[in-house]
Symmetry: C2
Subunit: 374 residues, 2 copies
């Protein structure tokens, strides 16, 4: 099969909404999207005829799946170590980002060390596995810190705050529960959170999507708006591009940042498409999902074309176990994930908006969200 | 289930590229798209987990399929009469456009009579089933005409030209082959062909997408560009809206027109999404595929938002039986249909372009098409 053949089989590990949205773009590009997931009715599995039912821990069925694919990518950074090992073995396959990169970035401590290695500004941190470490972290980070699980923390899960010294006692108990340990991070007082999607193609070319503001509610993405500028942004871009080259990174990379008013600090890297980039489905000629696939295919990346002066994305987070119902006269562009059950806090979909310069796009979008049954 | 429930089951009759592109949008809207088609690997069947294998003539399996759907639509106007009859019977189901409308518009003669009834400018015509009719048509249409099959003609198939009186002899033989007969249409000398997609929601609201120029090669759509204006366009829009209301039409309607320099004449109505509207996937905030679904759901239709001053779509028609291969550095936005076999003249995909005012977008697009292996 020709290396540019569009009929290549591309495998997605994981069947949630991120895989679903990548699969919709894969169809458009003429690829044959296959999904490896636990349930036949998972969001991504609904959107393709080619589904393999399995868990990432089932190495045998994973290997069978890999055998059939021309290209494989991840929907989440939290593949178990034995899965990554199996993926590394099947080296003839082009897996992107590489299993080695996933191993480094899925662990909070080694991710922070990577940022440090590439001189990317980030909050100070301290590895923690014992009660003594907690006290040492308290002293080293000038009192008050955020304790995070090294593995598997996301959307605010696995994050704990030490605001006064008496909090340390309660945190001690947490330490027993995590084989991969914790990291204590300096508490950053920030004005706002920013983010951007970076992309690097297997052909070595890179690009960066617009800088956006992201707003979280209870640790989950609530809304995103852009495009923004920041005086430290060109410097930060240069640093991230250098890191991607150094790692030989392939695919989309979500970069979450704190804006302290003066400087930008990287909070977190997500080695995949990311909620902060969903606006790109309407606001850009090519979305983060398309770009991730083109990157994996080693295709040329065109300059980013932004289609409106302002854009906003609002997340639809469940607030009940009732069925999600959109308003009949929705102005925004709806994206639902096909989840069969709603529940409080669950990411059920999002809505994208484009607007002219100076319009009150965000407040109109938030107002429209109130019309949903969530 | 709530009438606005996004998890409604929507059935697509037919599994080609039009159903495929509607299905990709149905996923986005959170609908559950089901396809009724002959082969499991048909373009649309690849893009959903819910496929029923069957032919439109298999009334029993069609009825079983209908039974399970909340909403049903067509990919083609050429459903056989017995199929339309079965669809009419299951009246509880919301089928759009209605089977009655499909029956009227799928037949060239009754379609022309409908245009006439609503006083929509169109070329003169003459029903033909005998040799005498051919001669009468020749006299009535001032010599020279186009002979078209009443049923099943598309993309230039089933169309024959009578340019000199001696051609009539050859056409006589054709007459025996078509149970539904032929229609002779006045030969129109036009400057260019124009088209537009109209949409009417089940809630009664209508809209019209931008007027475009379409260029055919050997009866098939070759490229489309827009947006355009024409001094007769507002008049024509009013007429078409009136017809849609009169027919209680629901869904997208493709309208092909001749521009004679002075006037616009409707050439053909396609009661479905249409090749001349594919540009809308990039150039509009909501594509024809989305709008067709929203129309069937009875949703509010937002004013059309055009995202660029100029747009172009080029069709990818097969030129060989080799695999279609896009250039690695494609500038346009690729849409491939997942067809497993290429062949000359087959619609394999299309490419969409957006551009600034005054740019040579069409010639750049046609130049880029030469870089495909087709």
């Amino acid at each position: 099969m020709n290396s540019h053949s569009p009929r290549r089989k591309i495998g997605f590990l994981g069947g949630g909404q991120l895989a679903r949205m990548m699969i919709l773009e894969a169809h458009r590009l003429g690829l044959e999207p296959h999904v490896f997931t636990a349930n036949a009715n998972d969001p991504a599995a609904q959107a393709t005829r080619f589904t393999t039912i399995g868990k990432l821990q089932d190495i045998k069925s994973l290997e069978n799946f890999l055998e059939k694919m021309d290209l494989v990518t991840f929907e989440s950074e939290f593949a178990p170590p034995e899965t990554l090992k199996a993926l590394e073995k099947s080296s003839k396959k082009r897996i992107f980002p590489s299993p080695e990169i996933m191993r480094v970035l899925q662990n909070r401590l080694s991710q922070k060390q990577t940022l440090q290695k590439f001189k990317i500004p980030t909050a100070h941190f301290f590895p923690v596995s014992t009660a003594q470490d907690l006290m040492a972290a308290w002293n080293s980070l000038n009192g008050a810190f955020v304790l995070k699980k090294n593995f598997g923390g996301y959307d605010g899960y696995g994050t704990f705050f030490a605001k006064k010294i008496s909090d340390l006692k309660g945190l001690e108990e947490k330490l027993q529960t995590e084989p991969q340990g914790f990291i204590a991070e300096q508490m950053i007082s920030f004005q706002r959170e920013l983010a951007a999607i970076f992309v690097r193609s297997a052909n070595g070319k890179t690009l960066c999507l617009p800088l956006v503001e992201t707003h979280q509610t209870q640790g989950r993405c609530d809304w995103v708006r852009g495009p923004l500028t920041h005086k430290q942004w060109p410097f930060m871009q240069k640093k991230i591009f250098k890191m991607m080259k150094g790692l030989d990174y392939v695919g989309a990379l979500g970069v979450e940042m704190f804006d302290t008013g003066r400087e930008l600090l990287v909070n977190e890297l997500a080695p995949r498409v990311h909620n902060s980039g969903h606006y790109s489905q309407q606001a850009l000629l090519e979305s983060q999902f398309t770009l991730h696939l083109k990157a994996g295919l080693g295709e040329h990346l065109n300059p980013v074309q932004v289609l409106a002066p302002q854009f906003v994305m609002t997340n639809l987070l469940g607030e009940s176990d009732k069925e999600l119902v959109p308003p009949n006269d929705l102005k925004g562009v709806l994206h639902l994930y096909g989840k069969t059950e709603n529940r409080p806090g669950r990411k059920m979909g999002h809505v994208n908006y484009l607007g002219p310069k100076g319009s009150k796009l965000l407040s109109a979008a938030l107002k429209e969200r109130k019309k949903f049954q969530l």
